[in-house]
């Protein structure tokens, strides 16, 4: 794998640190007038999501991480693993529930999601920012209540539970922001 001099790493680059793939968040140049130049780097560990702060000498280098983001189709869950397919090559990948994390509550078969691969293996799965999903369980809708601000919980076809306006019913399709879990509109 290629290496980067710490002086040339910029936000977004993926590097290896302590055996884990990381994404550069920020890189600040620090140098006493007569002294050694340093790079104060903030990196997000892509396995744990934690942000690390490290300071390197500008002459140090970091190994590039073999990390790539691919759009894939979600196929099915076999009870243990979740299966995805790259639409161009038909190549299939499987990931466990730990890799999916919160993304699992937004997964619907046939939908396209972003799968982050590390050394050819899924590292994380990111659903689209906005999804449109059908309500499968909620209290009956109250007609004529469209103007008032009340909400109620509704279970969606993928298992996620979101707060929706009172007038919605089972079978309605809603638009939701997957980053916040918030209802946006009726689709």
């Amino acid at each position: 794998m290629a290496t980067y001099s710490t002086n040339e790493i910029r936000a977004g680059l993926k590097v290896m640190l302590d055996g884990d793939p990381c994404s550069i968040v920020e890189n600040e140049f620090v140098k006493p007038g007569k002294g050694q130049a340093f790079n104060r780097v903030r990196l997000r560990n892509l396995k744990t999501g934690r942000v690390w702060e490290r300071t390197f000498r500008s002459s140090d280098s970091l190994e590039a991480a073999d990390v790539s983001d691919r759009d894939m189709q979600y196929l099915y869950n076999d009870g243990e693993h979740y299966h995805f397919m790259e639409p161009d090559t038909f190549e299939q990948y499987q990931a466990d529930g730990k890799t999916l994390g919160d993304a699992v509550q937004w997964l619907r078969e046939q939908d396209t999601v972003m799968v982050t691969l590390f050394n050819g293996q899924p590292l994380a799965v990111t659903p689209p920012n906005h999804v449109e999903l059908e309500i499968v369980e909620t209290d009956p809708g109250l007609k004529g209540d469209t103007a008032q601000g009340g909400t109620k919980p509704a279970k969606l076809v993928t298992g996620a539970v979101v707060k929706v306006p009172l007038f919605l019913n089972i079978g309605d399709v809603v638009r939701v922001d997957t980053r916040t879990g918030e209802y946006l509109s009726r689709a």
Binding site: F29, V30, K31, K34, G35, A37, F38, T55, R57, S58
Partner: protein, 318 residues
């Protein structure tokens, strides 16, 4: 369309013009005269951590000057008396919020003065220029010990390497004493300094650069070097100047050995400076002050490009 707009506001640039005029006025009142030494010369510096920018002139290698120091010392040896330079300096591979490869330096020399006289004059200048702060003076050892818990002059290298590794989160176990001190000072000391103007003096001998060596109040050998920090930002670096040509040559040679060991290009030694020192550089104190950084602090701006008419954008975040 090409982005032609200045990186500083016109108001900032007017303040910059006023600042330059006020600096010149300060020195005119004190009969220190301005010298406009060349920025292009056949030699650069041998420093391990400063890279001169090369320039070809009729096919011959020259360098943009990283500081006016050597040429000013030749003027001092010629009998100039007190002099100052207010102009550009250039350093390769330095770009960030506080660094620009082309920047403006104010550098001045006072024959017959020592570094403590000069710290007083730096305070007077800054107060004239609008820095409202009572200066604080502290020795390198005291501030270092307070924050790092080690004596910078006496601590064994392994102890400094361990502290640097702990503070940086990366491996400093095979790193030089100088680089460990730089790391510990930059991360562990600078950020803890109080608001206002702080002078740090009596540097470790290994960080003497172009300062004379001497002894501190407890008899420990130190470099007679000081730095000024304004709200935790390095602003000025000064020396009770080394005047001994033999010692100067030996420092150049050890610089070059360090450059070779680090895989950096060798640099030609400035023999004109050495000859001037041999003929007699008067005892003097000198200091260099970053004018762009001073303006950043006066105007509460955080990026050096906000005080430059057309800031060069070549750092990693662009």
């Amino acid at each position: 369309m090409a982005d032609w707009q200045p990186t500083a506001t016109l108001e900032t640039l007017r303040r910059r013009a006023e600042l330059m005029a006020a600096i010149r006025h300060f020195f005119a009142l004190r009969s220190v005269w301005e010298v406009d030494v060349p920025v292009l010369a056949k030699t650069g510096v041998t420093d391990l951590n400063i890279d001169s920018i090369p320039a070809e002139l009729n096919g011959r290698r020259h360098y943009l000057q990283s500081s006016p120091e050597y040429q000013m010392k030749r003027l001092l040896a010629a009998g100039s008396g007190g002099i100052y330079y207010l102009g550009k300096a250039f350093r390769d591979d330095e770009s960030g919020r506080r660094h620009s490869p082309e920047f403006t330096l104010l550098e001045w020399y006072r024959p017959g003065w020592d570094e403590h006289n000069l710290m007083d004059e730096v305070s007077s200048l800054l107060s004239e220029l609008g820095v409202v702060a009572e200066p604080v003076k502290v020795s390198y050892r005291e501030i270092f010990q307070q924050n790092i818990g080690l004596d910078p002059h006496a601590a064994p290298l392994e102890a400094l390497q361990q502290e640097a590794t702990a503070l940086s989160g990366s491996d400093f176990t095979a790193v030089s004493r100088n680089s460990c001190l730089d790391l510990l000072f930059s991360l562990g000391v600078e950020s803890t300094l109080p608001d206002g103007l702080v002078f740090v003096y009596d540097y470790p001998l290994c960080q003497a650069a172009l300062a004379c060596s001497g002894k501190d109040s407890s008899g420990v050998p130190v470099a007679r070097r000081f730095e000024a920090f304004l709200n935790r930002m390095e602003l000025a670096n000064g020396y009770y100047e080394l005047t001994d040509a033999v010692e100067q040559l030996s420092r150049f040679e050890s610089d070059l050995a360090l450059r070779t060991a680090a895989g950096k290009s060798a640099m030609p030694v400035d023999h004109q400076l050495l000859a001037a020192m041999k003929s007699g550089l008067p005892a003097c104190a000198g200091v260099a002050l970053g004018v762009d950084r001073l303006l950043m602090r006066l105007l509460s701006l955080v990026d050096i490009r906000e005080v430059l008419p057309f800031g060069i954008r070549c750092d990693v975040n662009d």
